[in-house]
């Protein structure tokens, strides 16, 4: 997969303001961060769960710390970033709600993408075969998948409401096709979008949530 081969990368590249401070949570080998630094001149940081991924990032000159989204978002002070990116990872974390709230503690805006469990292929697989769906986006069987918290587009917008987050924009992603701007509340999109990408901010200025006891890094 080339660096620009992922549709969500292209869409993220479009959304991020030049020169912004960006945190990529689950940055892998740093392809997206490198792209953002090169194309947008961002001041980037990454969090990656594997030591091999961190090594690869370091060799690319990226600033990355080993950690995971559930535990280690507290390593950064509040409002340290303009954007926190969580690309195709929300469904694999233990506490999606806390992670989402944390992203918007760290950053002014969050960019979050995930596979839509409401996509018609998923629904059909469940309906016709009565088995957990295995699709291009959800390629692993239920017993080995890292995706432990799958949700539909509608589930996600409900959570955003619950956390008092504002959806600034949303787009549908499908393999090999350019991102398509959508109205996430539209009933049809919950069938059509294979994957979705959201740009979120806090509806009211103050941080949506604080990780207990960890917000005050200077204290």
């Amino acid at each position: 997969m080339s660096a620009t081969g992922r549709e969500d990368f292209r869409e993220i590249l479009r959304l991020v303001r030049p020169g912004a401070r960006v945190l990529d949570v689950g940055c892998g080998e740093g392809a997206l961060l490198e792209l953002l630094e090169r194309e947008k001149g961002v001041d980037g940081r990454g969090i990656e769960i594997s030591a091999a991924g961190v090594s690869a990032c370091l060799a690319r000159g990226l600033t990355v710390m080993q950690g995971d989204a559930d535990r280690d978002l507290a390593e950064f002070p509040a409002q340290a970033f303009d954007y926190a990116i969580l690309s195709q990872t929300l469904q694999a974390v233990r506490e999606p709600r806390t992670v989402l709230a944390n992203l918007l503690r760290l950053a002014e805006r969050a960019i979050v993408s995930f596979p839509n469990f409401g996509h018609w292929r998923v629904r059909m697989a469940l309906l016709t075969r009565g088995r957990m769906p295995e699709t291009a986006v959800l390629s692993e069987p239920w017993w080995s998948t890292p995706n432990i918290h799958l949700c539909t587009l509608r589930d996600f917008t409900a959570l955003c409401d619950d956390l008092d987050l504002k959806i600034e924009s949303a787009s549908a992603l499908s393999a090999g096709r350019p991102a398509r701007q959508i109205d996430p509340a539209g009933a049809l999109e919950n069938w059509r979008a294979e994957s979705a990408l959201f740009l979120l901010s806090r509806r009211h200025g103050a941080p949506a949530a604080k990780a207990g006891g960890q917000a005050d890094l200077f204290g």
Binding site: D43, R45, A51, A52, V54, S55, A56, C57, L58, A59, R60, G61, L62, T63, V64, M65, Q66, G67, D72, A74, E75, F76, P77, A80, L217, F218, G219
Partner: protein
């Protein structure tokens, strides 16, 4: 300064001792006259003086980072990291490693002759700190004509020195690497050191620290100190894997001889250590580590210690089985670096080798350090 070059080596290497005529002011309020610092260098300083790397050594190590140690005849303690084609390549960097203040391998320490009395200092040597050691290193670097180091790198106590550099001389370092270290000594760290010190001082040959003048050496006490400390450098699984309950000979001796291989190993660690290390240096350096608490001088706020770093690239490394300076210590450092705005990278290397893993074959460490230094070098404009 006397500097001898070895023209036959594959890369230019040098060694020397610098002497500072102006007194070195110490944290204790005392000062030391005629301080000498022994050091080695590898590679050559480039014309722009931008490629210098300072390696800070751990408690019982020395300046012989990648050369044959003249005392033990063994290879340098980090020759797997420093050399052609290795992460610290002398073809690219000018690498400096100096013996710490308080040490016993050529730098001024308790076994040195006090110029005021003509006798070894012994316990009249002032208590020193990690910042004192770093101040002496900074004076050496300045004497070598280097205004800004490309990187300051160290493991264990060396890592503490890297953090102290970041606090005291942030403008003189382009990057930093802190491996298997902590921002301060824990109660457990201090406790183990105290066992070692008490072992030394309980040895009658220690003679109140005056053994050098009396011509004796507290070898038994120092050996026990080393044995206790050595356990803290390993891990339970590593000890089990290496020795288990294996016996030295067939059957038990029904005595207090070294029946178990692990006993024999520890005894060997102890006895070989006394041939290369000074007991009083051990007291002074362990004290310096126990006194280390970087945040203390900044109102207990570690991030304040790093406020001069701006966007300095920093790399912090821990090991999963290191229970001397466990991963949460490194995470504390990373969090403070992030809060201060430094470019902090961090990796926790999976290893069962305990604290000593930073000296051993750990390919993940090599690869990560190679990547970090290589890309930092590019942004510094080093070929």
């Amino acid at each position: 300064m006397n500097l001898s070059l070895n023209p036959s080596a594959a890369v230019a290497t040098g060694s020397g001792v610098v002497r500072f005529e102006r007194p070195l002011r110490l944290d204790s309020g005392a000062s030391l006259d005629s301080v000498e610092i022994a050091y080695e260098t590898y590679g050559e300083l480039n014309a722009a003086k931008t490629n210098a790397v300072l390696i800070c050594h751990a408690l019982t190590l020395d300046q012989h980072v990648a050369s044959i140690n003249p005392t033990t005849g063994k290879p340098g303690w980090w020759d797997r990291m420093v050399g052609p084609g290795l992460p610290l390549d002398p073809e690219r960097y000018f690498i400096i490693c100096s013996n710490v203040l308080g040490g016993c391998m050529g730098s001024t320490g308790p076994s040195s002759i006090n110029p005021a009395t003509g006798q070894p200092y012994g316990l009249t040597f002032p208590v020193i700190t990690i910042p004192d050691m770093v101040r002496a290193q900074a004076m050496l670097v300045e004497r070598l004509g280097i205004e800004s180091l490309f990187s300051v790198i160290g493991g264990s106590m060396g890592g503490m020195q890297v953090l102290q550099w970041a606090a005291d001389y942030p403008e003189r370092m382009f990057s930093g690497v802190c491996i298997a270290a902590a921002p301060r000594h824990s109660a457990q760290n201090i406790a183990f050191h105290e066992v070692g010190r008490q072992a030394i001082m309980a040895d009658p040959a220690w003679s109140g620290g005056d053994y050098a003048r009396l011509g004796s050496r507290p070898q038994k006490g120092l050996a026990v100190a080393r044995m206790a400390a050595h356990i803290t450098y390993l891990s339970e699984p590593a000890l089990q894997r290496k020795f288990g309950r294996e016996l030295q000979r067939d059957g038990l001796s029904w005595s207090f001889d070294a029946d178990f291989q692990v006993e024999s190993y520890l005894r060997h660690q102890g006895t070989s250590f006394v041939d290369r290390f000074d007991a009083n240096s051990y007291l002074y350096i362990t004290r310096a580590m126990d006194y280390f608490d970087l945040a203390a001088a900044y109102g207990g706020v570690l991030a304040q210690a790093f406020r001069g770093l701006a966007s300095t690239p920093f790399f912090v490394v821990s090991f999963t089985s290191d229970w001397l300076y466990p991963t949460p210590d490194s995470r504390t450092i990373v969090r403070a670096l992030n809060a201060a705005g430094a470019k902090a990278s961090f990796v926790e290397v999976e290893s069962d080798k305990g604290h000593d893993a930073f000296l051993l074959d750990e390919p993940v460490l090599d690869a990560a350090l190679h990547g970090f230094l290589g890309s930092a070098a590019l942004s510094r404009g080093l070929a």
